[in-house]
Symmetry: C2
Subunit: 132 residues, 2 copies
């Protein structure tokens, strides 16, 4: 049975990948209510740690996520959703994926990130307006 | 620059996918030292929340992970590593991936999980011995 192991803050980690390309889109969190709504509706709901609020992905941007498949890991503290990303992207910076920077490996000291697949697919100012 | 945003426990989330198939293998955590060692060596190091210990993936199982590419997300509280998984699998239950159970969607109440891609690829008792 589904018996999520929520952390001290009442959250599990959620990994969202693109159901078509397989690319990692974003990593976020779900509390019990977000998980329940996602299971019941097949639309991705999350819990924002910064805003301390439940949110349906796309409620302000219009870029919702239809869940094609959900999986849970061995110890049930993480879920994986394969989604149909609606609209041009998942990231609030205006990109398809939140993971648009590479960390170069096998080096020491300060690490300069490298942009990769970082083209903007939408203008966040237009999408989110003044609410950021 | 790489400037990870560690949580209150000093951790970032790490998502490991198979560099060849793209499949999600596991979700774990890294503290500053684990992240530093992963960047420097190109081998996956994690921090176990349950054991409160740094560990190199494969140090007890032999099933290490060579990192092909590392990325960081927009707010730098999650990293994504694409890995060459050594040996038959990443999951301590004896499977290739930790995500071997599907959560059926669009239903209410108690949810029965469904096994998917759940065949055992190794015997954990043989691999980990009495240490579990």
């Amino acid at each position: 049975m589904l018996a999520p192991k929520f952390d001290a803050d009442g959250l599990v980690t959620c990994v969202a990948t693109d159901a078509t390309s397989g690319d990692l889109l974003m990593v976020a969190h779900m509390n019990a209510e977000a998980l329940k709504r996602t299971v019941e509706t097949g639309e991705a709901w999350y819990f924002s740690r910064s805003r301390k609020a439940l949110w349906r992905k796309g409620e302000s941007s219009g870029h919702g996520q239809r869940v094609v498949e959900m999986r849970v890991d061995c110890d049930q503290d993480a879920v994986w959703i394969k989604v149909e990303q609606q609209g041009p992207g998942a990231c609030h910076t205006g990109r398809r994926s939140c993971f648009y920077r590479v960390v170069p490996l096998r080096q020491q000291g300060a690490v300069a990130l490298q942009f990769r697949d970082a083209e903007k697919t939408f203008n966040p100012a237009d999408t989110y307006g003044n609410s950021g």
